[in-house]
Amino acid sequence: MQVQDMKPEDVTGDYREQTFTFFDGTKRKVLVCDEEVPYPEGRLIVSVTDPSGIITHVNKSFVEMSGFSEEELLGAGHYILRHPDMPPAAFKDLWDTVRAGKKWSGYVKNLRKDGKFYWVYATVVANVRDGNVKSYTSVRRKPSRKKIQECEALYPTLF
């Protein structure tokens, strides 16, 4: 799956380095700085992946908030946005839920290309056509600050 290590020249300010090993064995070095980018007012961030999690469509808000170009995003694994503060259990729950044909919703801290982060309230649904799951659509919206604070306290306990 196409996912490159993050590069120091893309990151602004101080950062810490961490290496992920994803469920499929892919490794990725991420550079993380603790600066939040506010969620844009009134927008939805939308993406579509194929059943294996490869990004096949992104909207303009997705491109702007991720810091990547559309070309970099299309064909990449959705874990290009994975932030090391997100517990793997959250994503396991996501995939278990949508593969069971149900809608998943949750609060997610996403990592940008520049090492900064943004919080979203994400909902993922399966796109069923002629009885088969063709893809998954993920739609993010602006979360409540109170819920983010609850997640900031909860998520470190789930590792």
């Binding site: 969620y39 844009p40 007012e41 009134g42 927008r43 939805l44 939308v46 579509v48 909207n59 303009k60 808000s61 809608k103 309230y121 909902t123 993922v124 649904v125 796109n127 056509r129 659509t137 993920s138 739609v139 919206r141 602006k142 979360p143 409540s144 600050r145 109170k146 819920k147």
Partner: protein, 248 residues
């Protein structure tokens, strides 16, 4: 056989005549009898759909899922450059400066326009507001929502952006927008029911070429739209999937 055409009840009253003209235009082009029926509420329209009394509809995006997935309607076209966007609006003198300033117990003026109401409620979520902790007041029109805000009997109102912009400058100047959605892909669409499905190509061709002659252009002017864009079935399916992520 007389076919039935209807329009989502949330369009502006200034365009009623336009839809009648559109219906006449379509009847002549198709050489078919088409009855134009307007319903004064979403409930009345839903009842007609449930009874299979609608063959062609300019549908609210909220209803698209039911029409396409339960009733077998197919997509034909969508208006150019006319996405449905919602606004959260307050009285210009209100101390509320952002959505996050709103508190539980806020009085919200809304309409029965389902997609605007849904988008409005989503835009209140950052303030931890939902139907359980706000007071909703349903109004029959957007101008009544404006009155609610001007009188101070509601704290905020949900508007379809287009309807807000259609109000007089005097009214708009006394109101202030807190946030406007920028979703782009939620929009009304023309959908064909099963009884007309075999005429899909013909109807699409008539509608998509309305800009090619003066009569067609005149009809578009009276509808307040620039023209129609081809709508693939997958486009409307994608919109339905997206809408499903927004409803509980």
């Amino acid at each position: 056989m007389t076919y039935q055409f209807t329009v989502s009840p949330d369009f502006g009253p200034s365009h009623i005549a336009g839809w009648q003209i559109f219906n006449t235009f379509l009847q002549r082009k198709l050489s078919e009898a088409i009855h134009f029926e307007l319903y004064d509420s979403f409930d009345a329209q839903h009842k007609a759909i449930a009874e299979d009394n609608v063959d062609l509809i300019y549908a609210n995006p909220y209803d698209a899922a039911m029409l396409v997935r339960d009733k077998g309607f197919v997509a034909i076209a969508k208006p150019q450059d006319k996405a449905d966007e919602a606004m959260i609006v307050v009285n210009a003198e209100s101390p509320i400066q952002s959505v996050e300033d709103l508190q539980p117990g806020s009085k919200i003026a809304t309409t029965d326009d389902p997609d605007v109401h849904m988008m409005g409620m989503i835009m209140l979520e950052p303030a931890d507001l939902d139907t359980s902790n706000v007071e909703l007041k349903q109004c029959d029109s957007y101008i009544l929502i404006a009155k609610e805000l001007l009188r101070g009997t509601s704290d905020v109102g949900f508007f379809l952006e287009e309807s807000f912009q259609d109000m007089s400058a005097i009214v708009r100047e006394q109101l202030r927008s807190l946030v406007t959605s920028q979703i782009y892909i939620i929009q009304h669409s023309l959908l064909l029911g099963p009884a007309l499905a075999d005429r899909k190509e013909e109807i699409a061709q008539i509608i998509l070429s309305m800009n090619d002659d003066e009569k067609g252009k005149g009809v578009l002017d009276s509808l307040g739209i620039k023209g129609w864009e081809h709508l693939e079935q997958e486009d409307v399916e994608f919109m339905i999937d997206l809408m499903s992520t927004l409803v509980e």
